[in-house]
């Protein structure tokens, strides 16, 4: 894109924005399985991908879709899948495989209420903890959460960037509101010339190690078929990629997986803090709840109440320090979630008992209304 020229705004849904962003990020592989409220992502990509020379495939289930995405990524493609709660549950084993084999990929989860089939068409934020701890064993997690259509686009681009740089699966957690709302959005594609190619080998095949359990970021994952002939396994493995039963190696590898994300907090931490300096009541919200929070905050401010908002765009890793800083002058922190407090635990951890936490939760499939939140604020 030419610099200085801003594209005209267009009307689209969050789900469509994700599909367009995937193409603009250079993704050329999608595998999925239909599920409300995410299906429009697959439908849009079934149009866009073949036209872009990429691959679209509807698999036989979500496990297959996640597995195919990882296979495609190992062949060098930027790849994604999209799903909702039940499908996200099915993908978990393969997500753990991507974590331990350090294969970059993006998983979009347009959340619904659960448990089980739950409330397929109504808004909820039921998978926040599943995004953190859904697969077994100690593993890293990176998850981003947009509040509007334009941000669904931007955060999809970022999800691919984080994933490629850190060689780890990244989860885009949306809610039904953001997925389905039609909004005006300005989509600013990245300059494809500046997208780094993080798969390019930096050493000859004889010296190549697909893994390195130290340093800032992992070595490039060289695509299969380029003369590097290495081994990828979900068994714990040493830096050559071959399985190892050595307990010291296992300890080092698992710690590395977690540290890799911790070390790169600067890269992935992303939040918005609105009027927090003088806030007596600090709202904490993400996704569609943040829209409600902003509206309620606006109403409260016009009544002279000192209300602020802390809104993480990246929810995993959780921005503990940034939230603590934003809350230091507050009398109370009010998390607003469409679940029974999945992220509120982390809020409590962040403020360490120094500020009381009084949450507002909803799980009936109805979004929190600004009036309702305003009344709640008046009562705390």
């Amino acid at each position: 894109m030419e610099t200085g020229k801003r594209p005209a705004p267009r009307l689209l849904t969050g789900n469509e924005a994700v599909a367009h962003a995937a193409i603009d990020a250079g993704a050329r592989f999608f595998a999925g399985y239909p599920i409300t409220p995410s299906s429009e992502i697959a439908e849009t990509l079934s149009v866009l991908l073949p036209k872009a020379g990429g691959v679209f495939i509807q698999m036989e289930d979500e496990i297959a879709a996640m597995s195919a995405v990882i296979g495609a990524a190992i062949a060098g493609a930027k790849a994604l899948t999209a799903t909702s709660g039940p499908g996200f549950s099915l993908k978990q084993e393969a997500i753990g495989f991507a974590c331990v084999t350090e294969v970059p990929c993006v998983i979009v989860n347009v959340m619904r209420g659960g448990p089980s089939t739950g409330l397929p068409t109504l808004p909820a934020q039921g998978d926040v903890m599943q995004a953190r701890w859904g697969t077994h064993g100690d593993h890293p997690a990176v998850a981003v959460c947009p509040e509007r259509v334009s941000e669904a686009y931007d955060l999809t681009l970022k999800a691919f960037d984080y994933s490629e740089r850190l060689r780890t699966p990244v989860i885009l957690l949306m809610d039904e509101v953001v997925g389905h709302v039609t909004e005006k959005a300005v989509l600013v594609p990245p300059d494809s010339a500046t997208l780094p190619d993080l798969r390019k080998p930096v050493s000859p095949p004889e010296e190549y190690r697909p893994y390195r359990y130290s340093g800032q970021v992992p070595p490039p994952l060289v695509p299969f078929g380029q003369g590097y002939r290495y081994h990828v396994t979900g068994l714990l493995h040493d830096e050559t990629g071959f399985p190892s039963n050595d307990t010291g190696n296992a300890d080092r590898q698992v710690r590395w997986l977690m540290d890799k994300v911790e070390r790169n907090r600067r890269l992935v931490t992303d939040f918005e803090a609105v009027d927090v300096e003088d806030a007596e009541v600090l709202l904490f919200a993400y996704g569609a709840c943040a829209r409600t929070a902003k509206a309620a905050m606006h109403m409260a401010r016009s009544q002279g109440r000192k209300v602020g908002l802390f809104r993480p765009r990246t929810i995993w890793p959780f921005p503990y320090e940034e939230l603590a800083l934003a809350a230091r002058n507050a009398r109370v922190v009010v998390p607003v979630e469409m679940n029974l407090g999945q992220l509120s635990y982390e809020v409590s951890l962040a403020v360490c008992g120094k500020v009381p936490v009084k949450p507002l939760f909803k799980v009936g499939g109805e979004a929190v209304a600004p009036d309702e939140l305003l009344t709640f604020i008046e009562g705390v």
Binding site: R28, F29, A31, L49, P50, K51, A52, G53, G54, V55, I57, M59, E60, D61, I63, A64, A65, S67, A68, V69, I70, G71, A72, A73, I74, A75, G76, A77, A79, E93, A94, F97, P223, F224, G225, Q226, G227, Y228, R229, Y230, H231, V232, T233, G234, L235, F242, P243
Partner: protein, 272 residues
């Protein structure tokens, strides 16, 4: 027998392998290497993908691009790999539990799609790696750690199942006839589209001991006695085929292959 430079295909530093003495899995892998050598495929263009089980360890020992995935999902991983880079020659190694119990759905859908994958299923009638539990191919009445009174479920005829699901090539061989097995593998690998070879492979440790087949030799003799070439099987009545292993090429056709169809679509849309 034709001389094959096995060492150049093996990751000799990864050997000794984990397979038990008398296990058939190594014989299947050898036949695969021989077939690959005969085809002249380059190591760099070969990807070998497996799931979990004793069979799943095969890729670790060969010097290709190798991917050891989760239990039952090798075909799904391989689907992504092949679609993202159709120039790769993709071989999937799986077991009877891996490929047709937990992974059965992926198997039939891959066959239906007729994607150019080469699937080799090591059928030992048992879950070897986990210590001898009943599998979907354990014969009726046979003993397993989870079928202590004899298996009371009817087994799958895997090759017929896959042939019915689609694909271009289906064959069955045994490790007692390694030359024949190599020929079947060669045909399968050469074939464009989905191809499937069921390789009957003894597991003395988890199956034989429990089923009056005392040791590897008894198991080989059993394979010999039970196998019937397809041409002969055609003249036998159903009761005579009870408990037999029909070997040979069960399906050979040339339906259009998945990546070919997809390439035409993208070309029509101006995608590539």
């Amino acid at each position: 027998m034709r001389a094959v430079p096995y060492e150049s295909y093996l990751r000799t530093r990864r050997i000794p392998h984990i397979w038990c003495p008398g296990c058939g899995h190594g014989i299947v892998l050898k036949a695969m290497v021989r077939a690959i050598d005969q085809l002249g495929w380059k190591k760099d263009e070969i990807a070998m993908v497996s799931g979990i089980g004793c069979s799943g360890r095969a890729p670790g020992y060969v010097d290709f691009n190798t991917l050891h995935t989760t239990h039952g999902r090798a075909i799904a991983f391989a689907t992504g790999l092949k679609l993202a880079n159709p120039s790769l020659k993709v071989i999937v190694v799986t077991g009877d539990g891996d490929g047709i119990a937990i992974g059965g759905n992926h198997m039939i859908h891959a066959a239906r799609r007729n994607l150019d994958l080469n699937v080799v299923l090591f059928n030992n009638f048992i879950y070897g790696m986990t210590g001898g539990q009943v599998s979907p191919t354990t014969p009726l009445g046979c003993s397993a750690t989870t079928a202590p009174f004899g298996n009371y479920e009817h087994p799958f005829n895997i090759a017929e199942l896959v042939a019915a699901a689609g694909g271009n090539f289906v064959a069955r061989g045994t490790v007692y006839q390694p030359v024949e097995l190599e020929k079947l593998l060669l045909k399968a690998f050469e074939k464009k589209g989905f191809s499937f070879v069921e390789a009957m492979s003894p597991c003395p440790t988890a199956y034989g001991r429990r089923n009056k087949l005392k040791g590897p030799v008894a198991m080989m003799v059993d394979l010999k006695e039970r196998s019937v070439p397809l041409a002969r099987a055609k003249n036998l009545a159903e009761p005579e085929l009870e408990g037999k292993i029909v070997t040979g090429v069960l399906l050979d056709r040339d339906k259009e292959e998945y990546t070919e169809i997809y390439r035409k679509l993208t070309a029509r849309l101006g995608g590539a």
